[in-house]
Structures are given as C-alpha cells and as structure tokens.
C-alpha cells in the first residue's frame, strides 16, 4: 500500500510529501479497509456456511432475503442489533461487558500480518507468523472472562473447555508451522509466500523450476503432514466440528455464550467467524502459497514495487486482483472443508479431544519436525554443515531423495502413531467389562 500511495502522490501528482505522511495515509487506509472487510467476511461466511451445509443436507438454505438469500446475514445483523441486551443479575457486569471486546480485538489485530496479494500486506513483520499465533491466543482470555462473568454453570463449563482446548491446540498448530519455518528459515509471512514460487517443486529448493506460483509446501511430505495437523488444530482453535466442544449446543447449550444476547452474542460470532477465516487464510498462505498462483508473479514483476519502482500501476492492480482472488479462493475452499466436516462428523468429547491433541498430534508434529530437518539437511546443507554425501547430487536428485525419505518417515509415523493412539485409547480408562457389570449389578437383590 505504501508503494501505491507513494507512487500516486509523489510520482503521479509530484507533490513530494514526506515519507511519514505517506506511511500514515497508507496505514489509515489499510486499517479502514480491513475493519470494513472483516465484518463483511464474517457476514458472508455465515451465509456461505449455511448455504453449503444446507446443500449437504439436501436442503436449500436461506434463500428468502435478497437474491438467493444473500442479504440474510444483513437481516441477522439487524436482528442482533435490535435485540435486547440482557445481563444476568448475578453476572459480573464489567467483565461480562468486556469479554466480547477482548475476544474480538485480537482477531482484528491478526489481519495486520495477513498478506492479501503481492505487496499487499498491512505490516510485513519479520516475525509475522509468531505475531499471528501469539495474538490469537489472547482471545482465550476473553472466553474465560465470558464464562466466569456469566455466573452460569454451562458458561463456566464451556469457558473451561474453550481455554483448555485453545491452549492445548496452540501447541500442535505452532509445532506444525515450525516444520515449515525450518524449511524456509524465516518467520515472515511474506517471505514464506515468496518461497512457494515454482511448479510443484519450490524454486527455492530446486533452482530453475519454472515459476507458476505453484511451489507450495503442500507438495512436500513435510508440508502435507504439517498441513493436516495444522488444519486439525485450526478446527479446534476455531471451535469447528468435530472440535466445537466449548459451545457444544447439545451438551452445554451454547458454552460461554449462553448468557449473552443481542450484539454481544453477535460479537462472539463475529470473532469466531473472523478467526475461522483467518485460520483458513493462514493455512492457505503457508501451505498453499497464499496469493501465489499462475500469473501473479509475472504480473507483479511489471508492477510498481520496491524492487521495480518504474513499473506500471496497472500491473499492480492486476496482480493485486489476481492475488486476492487466489487467496480468497483458497480460503473459501478451506472454509468449505470446515463446513463439510461439520456436515459429516459428530463431535468428540472433551477428554478425547485432549487425548487426540496431546497424544497424537503433538508426537506427529515432532516427527514432522524431524522430517523437516532431514529435508533441510538433504536440500540445503552442504559440506560446511558436515553433509558431504549430497555434494555431487544434482538439485533435482537431492529433492527427490529428500521427498522419498520424508514421505516414508511421515507415512510410517502416521500409521504407527495412529495404531498406538488407538490402542492406548482402548486401554486407557478401560475397566474390565465383567467387573464393570458387577459394580452395576451389585445393587440388585
């Protein structure tokens, strides 16, 4: 944005404004845009989810308000705003009031590091990924506030579950991303995307691969496993089925949201859907190349950018549109998968969820980190790191060997861990059936 604004003001109009003014203008513009976009994302996602899941259930879904029901979320929003805001008498008023804000704020902040297109990142932090996940955990505080302040047992249970779940699933999520970070050696999201140029093989790994913007990490075994783990963890963090335990409507009514009504309830929903959107987006960014796709790189090469100040702004626009299109397409595809899972799966129980996270996902990510190390060692390291046997291999051979080895490691790890996990699940907490029957029937006379 800075480049565009700078180009517009200083080059096109020739006003020669100082850099900080331009930075201020561009940041304000970006913030305004994001705050306008985020709620609309949420509105559209609710509509999208309802329509998609209705189709899965042989229904039509909302189709009454506006063309094909497109205005349904607006109507819902109006309903939310006009509803009475009820605060329970026994609730802690201020905490009850603050909780939705605390939940929503971090999700908005997370937009700060999300790159939408080439050169279209609000802030290119060099620790963007860390920022993203650090901020996302803050909303757990808000959830706990909501649960505690409501003085409702269901809310309390829901908040406990939510916090436990979010804290637990941060770990596999971050660990799975760690593997990717090891591949690239950077925490900057922009650089992560740029590393995914290429055609099924990242051009960073094998020089000379044509750049079609398809060198995504998902095409590597490490990235694939990391993606699976990350997506599962994202489901848990975003409280999506089968991990929507904190707000399991059939068990604890609405979890921490039980005592909220009106727009406060709406804010929780907003936070949740925005978080889902962001998680899908970040999954798209990290594993599916974000805005990378055929044509974007070619266009961006001809656009105004720090590397190429003489470019044409038309290409900026084109590259931007194409990049945003790619990103949103990927994001919505992931969201569709989330909806699909919601349509297809029951939810787990809270202890099973914990077991799954701690006993299956975390070991799996740890194995994946080992694979990532192998990958890095085979592809990047040379004699100076003490790896000599790959010295004479061509890059493509290195890549092939690394691919095969990591694939084998990951598949074996997955199957073995799944078996072990299943066995442990079967054993753990197992009471001998006869004994159990005896305890039950002992009361009979």
């Amino acid at each position: 944005m800075y480049d565009i604004v700078n180009g517009l003001i200083n080059t096109t109009f020739g006003w020669n404004w100082p850099g900080w003014v331009i930075a201020l203008i561009s940041h304000l513009l970006v913030t305004t845009l994001l705050f306008a976009i985020a709620p609309f994302q949420m509105l559209f996602l609710t509509y999208y989810e309802r329509r998609a899941i209705a189709r899965m259930q042989d229904r039509i879904g909302p189709n009454r308000v506006g063309p094909a029901g497109l205005l349904q979320p607006i109507a819902d929003g109006v309903k939310m705003f006009t509803k009475e805001d009820i605060v329970p008498a026994a609730a802690d008023r201020w905490v009850h009031f603050l909780a939705p804000c605390v939940v929503v704020a971090p999700t908005m902040l997370m937009f700060a590091v999300l790159p939408w297109g080439p050169g279209m990142v609000p802030v290119d932090l060099n620790v963007g990924l860390l920022f993203f996940f650090a901020i996302s955990s803050i909303s757990a505080v808000g959830l706990l506030m909501a649960g505690l302040a409501s003085s409702n047992k269901f809310a309390l249970l829901g908040a406990m579950r939510a916090v436990a779940q979010m804290v637990s699933y941060e770990i596999p999520a971050v660990l799975s991303l760690l593997a990717v970070v090891m591949l690239t050696g950077t925490l900057s999201i922009v650089q992560l995307i740029e590393a995914q140029a290429g055609l099924f093989i990242s051009s960073a790994d094998v020089p000379g691969v044509p750049d079609l913007g398809l060198g995504w990490f998902i095409f590597t075994p490490v990235g694939l496993l990391a993606f699976i783990v990350f997506f599962i963890a994202a489901l848990a963090e975003g409280e999506r089925t089968p991990f929507d335990i904190p707000e399991a409507d059939s068990e604890i009514v609405a979890g921490y949201m039980t005592e909220y009504s009106g727009m406060k309830f709406g804010l929780f929903y907003l936070a949740q859907y925005v978080l889902n959107f962001l998680l899908c987006a970040i999954a798209a960014v990290i594993f599916f190349g974000g805005w990378q796709g055929p044509g974007v790189g070619w266009l961006y090469d001809r656009a105004i950018s720090p590397a190429n100040p003489d470019g044409n702004w038309v290409f900026n626009l084109l590259a931007g549109f194409l990049g945003v299109f790619y990103l949103l397409a990927k994001t919505y595809a992931f969201f569709f998968v989330m909806v699909w899972l919601r349509g297809a799966f029951p939810r787990l129980r809270v202890d099973q969820l914990m077991d799954f996270g701690w006993k299956f996902l975390i070991p799996l990510t740890l194995v994946n980190i080992v694979s990532a190390a192998i990958w890095v060692a085979l592809l990047r390291w040379g004699p100076e790191q003490g790896i000599t046997f790959t010295q004479n291999w061509t890059p493509i051979l290195r890549w092939g060997v690394a691919f095969a080895v990591t694939l084998a490691v990951n598949i074996v790890a997955y199957i073995a861990l799944a078996r072990i996990f299943a066995a442990s699940q079967a054993e753990q907490g197992r009471i001998d059936l006869d004994e159990y029957r005896d305890t039950l029937t002992a009361t009979l006379r």
């Binding site: 189709r55 899965m56 042989d58 699909w340 349509g343 297809a344």
Partner: protein, 428 residues
C-alpha cells in the same frame, strides 16, 4: 452369531469395522464421501419417493404441497350449491363425539310454532382447541360436516379462531373439488337426505346465512307465493301442472305435508271425507311421505320381541335394551293421542274451512282451541294450545297454497297404509 427361532432368527449385530480397514481415519473419509455426494446431488430436485438425493425442500408459499384427499385439517359445514340449503340437521352427533368438546350448536326452531326443525341455527367450532381428529366428519349421518384442506389458519387474533356458521359454510362444490372420490362415495345418500330435510324446513331456515341474495330470493318467492294465495282459487291447478321447483309448488307441497299431518291425526278417530278423485301429483307425493313417516313411527313403537307397546304400560317391563325406545314410543304415542283428541273436533272443521275460504281460518282455529280446552285435562292445555296454533298455521298454508283437496286425500291414504294410525287410536 445367530440363533434360529420361529420364522426368523436372532441376530447379534456386528460391531465395529466390518473389514480390516487400511488406514485409521478411513471411516471418516467414507462419511465425507457420503456428504459430498449429497452436496453434489443437491443441485437438482428430489425426484420422488425412491430418490434419496437432491433437494427435497418445498419452497412453501410458492410451491404448495399436494394434499391427499383424505387430508383433514379443520371441520367445515357444507351447503348445497343449488338450493343453498345446509346439509346439517343439528342432530348433535358431532357435538357428542367431539373429544375436546369444541363443537357447539343450537337447533333451528320454526318461528311460528317453536317446534324444532331439522336445521341448525348456530354452529360454533373452536378451531383453537380442535384437535383435527376428524370424528365429527366420520359420525355425521348427513355428511354435512367435512374436514377442510385449508391449513393456513394462523392469526394474531385469538378470537378469530372461534368460528361461526358463516365462516364454516362451504359449498358442496368446494368439497367436491378437494375430495372428489370421497364425496362421490357419499353424494347420493347425502343429497337424498338433504331433499328430505328441505321439505321439513319452513321459511328460509337452514339456508346458508352468508348467501344473502339467495335467501332474499327465496324470501321473495315465498312472499310471492303467499300473495298469490290470496287470489281466488284460480292458481289451485297450477301446482298440478308446474312440474318442478317452482317456488309456489314447493310451498304448496310444504303446506300439503302440514295439512296432511294435521288431518292424519284428525282422521284417526274421525272418518275422513271421501278423497276426491284426481288429486294433484304433488299432493300424492306428500301423502306418500306422510304415510311412510307414520309407518316409521309405528315401527319404532313396536318392541322387537313384543307386541306394540301401549303407552300406559310401565317401562320397566320391557327388556332393558328396548327401554328407551319403548319410552320414546310411549311419549310419541301419547302426543299423537292428544293431538288426535283435539283433532277430532278441530281438524275437519279446519280442513273444510280451508277448502272453502281462507278468511274463515281464524274462527276455525278458535273453535279448535275451545274444543281442545273443553276436551282435555288442564295439564294438556299447553299441548292443546300448541296443536291449535299448528292447526291454524296449517290451515293458513293450506289456504295459501290453494291445495284445497289436500287434506282429505292424505288422510285417506294414511288410514289405509299406516299401522301407526291404529296405534294412535288404541292409545286414545
């Protein structure tokens, strides 16, 4: 594992995975595949009963469900399109069977005589408490109450759900449209009963009140008929020629029935005048009807296994099942006897007077009253007066219709055909 038993077996259901699955998580993928199939198939409509894919939503206000004929929602009352007469005779069957007791009705009364007629004066159904069981339609012997297909009854006004006769009335053609075969099954019987009932309904009683113009038309016809009757006996021949459904004839027929009844009672004790030859066909019909009715009354009077029950007999002697019937018969017989007693004085006079000049009716009636007073005990005074009024009416109508020969004819027929007559005679 299975165990054989008679006509089947006991099967222990197979738990868990049927096949050794390749990878953990395949069951989840299977489920996703099923959902995907539904998602992909949902861009077309569900094809019907044997299709399990595709959207099966009814987009309701645009797309109306096709209701089967038997569908029942709320009860409605039917009336005949042609005559605009309601089929309901207020027999109270539906009110009695209604499980939540939401049907209320009052029977129509002849304003002149106060005698109940087979029509309903007011009919109320509390739709809000109706449970749509359909019993009322099932028990109705006249097929007057049927179940509607209209289901959009929601309203913000609770009071609206107490539905009166005006809102309940639907033409038969409406019901025929929503349930053609079900109506076809009962149509003939229902229409026959309706024709019978119309004959017993004076004035505009029993006509659908929401058809104001029809009622007005009918009123005009009745008035015209009355006006025509004041003219000399010239129109007397008219009913004989005018074949069907002219209002005059209908009125005449009605009058004939009335006169016949009165005369019949009179004729029980007093030998009627000789029936003139060549009676009008319209009168003949009425006479036959009266005869049938009398016969029926007689049949009811008979206990199945005993000779005709005499009024004076104590009810207890009859077998319990027939007790009620016997008592009913006794009451009816007593009434008839009473009427006969007074009729012996009044009716011939009346009949004669009616035959010659209508203006003489009031004195005749007066004579009848006085005769009745003289003849009966004080307890029967009321009944006597009632009978007198009825006789007066009959006389007036007989005069109005111009069917001078009606009364004698009928009495003759009845006398020969009705065992009820002898019954009555015995009682008196």
């Amino acid at each position: 594992m299975t165990v054989k038993i008679e006509r089947g077996q006991i099967v222990t259901v197979e738990r868990g995975k049927r096949t050794a699955r390749r990878l953990p998580g395949m069951g989840l993928l299977d489920g996703m595949a099923v959902v995907w199939k539904h998602w992909a198939g949902s861009f077309r409509k569900n094809q019907g009963f044997n299709d399990i894919h595709g959207v099966f939503t009814y987009e309701y206000p645009e797309e109306r469900p096709k209701l089967p004929e038997a569908y029942r929602n709320m009860p409605i009352l039917l009336y005949d399109d042609e005559t605009s007469h309601e089929l309901c005779t207020s027999c109270f069957q539906c009110e009695r069977i209604c499980p939540p007791q939401v049907i209320h009705m009052t029977q129509a009364k002849d304003p002149a005589t106060g005698k109940p007629v087979p029509a309903v004066a007011e009919f109320v159904i509390e739709y809000d408490a109706c449970m749509s069981c359909g019993f009322c339609a099932e028990v109705c012997p006249f097929d007057a109450i049927k179940m509607d297909h209209e289901f959009e009854l929601s309203t913000a006004d609770h009071q609206k759900l107490t539905v009166f006769k005006e809102q309940l009335n639907r033409p038969i053609s409406y019901y025929e449209r929503i349930a053609p075969t079900m109506w076809a099954e009962v149509r003939d019987g229902a229409m026959k009963k309706l024709q019978g009932n119309i004959k017993r309904r004076p004035d505009v009683i029993g006509m659908a009140p929401n058809l104001a113009e029809k009622i007005a038309a009918r009123r005009r016809e009745l008035e015209a008929a009355a006006a025509a009757a004041t003219a000399p006996a010239a129109p007397a021949a008219a009913p004989a020629e005018g074949r069907k459904l002219t209002p005059e004839e209908k009125a005449a027929k009605l009058a004939a029935i009335k006169a016949a009844n009165a005369a019949k009672k009179a004729g029980d004790t007093v030998e009627p005048p000789v029936a003139p030859a060549g009676a009008a066909p319209a009168d003949e019909k009425a006479a036959r009807l009266a005869a049938i009715r009398a016969k029926n009354a007689a049949r009811k009077g008979e206990a199945p296994d005993a000779p005709p029950v005499v009024a004076g007999e104590p009810a207890g002697e009859a077998p319990p099942a027939d007790e009620k019937a016997a008592r009913l018969a006794a009451i009816r017989a007593k009434n008839a006897a009473r009427k006969a007693a007074e009729g012996s004085d009044g009716a011939p006079v009346e009949a004669n007077v009616a035959a010659t000049e209508p203006a003489a009716a009031p004195p005749a009636a007066g004579a009848a009253t006085s005769a009745a007073e003289a003849a009966t005990a004080p307890a029967d005074e009321k009944a006597a007066r009632l009978a007198a009024i009825r006789a007066k009416n009959a006389a007036r109508k007989a005069a109005g219709g111009g069917s001078d020969a009606a009364a004698p004819t009928t009495t003759g027929n009845v006398d020969s055909g009705g065992p009820g007559a002898s019954d009555d005679a015995a009682l008196s």
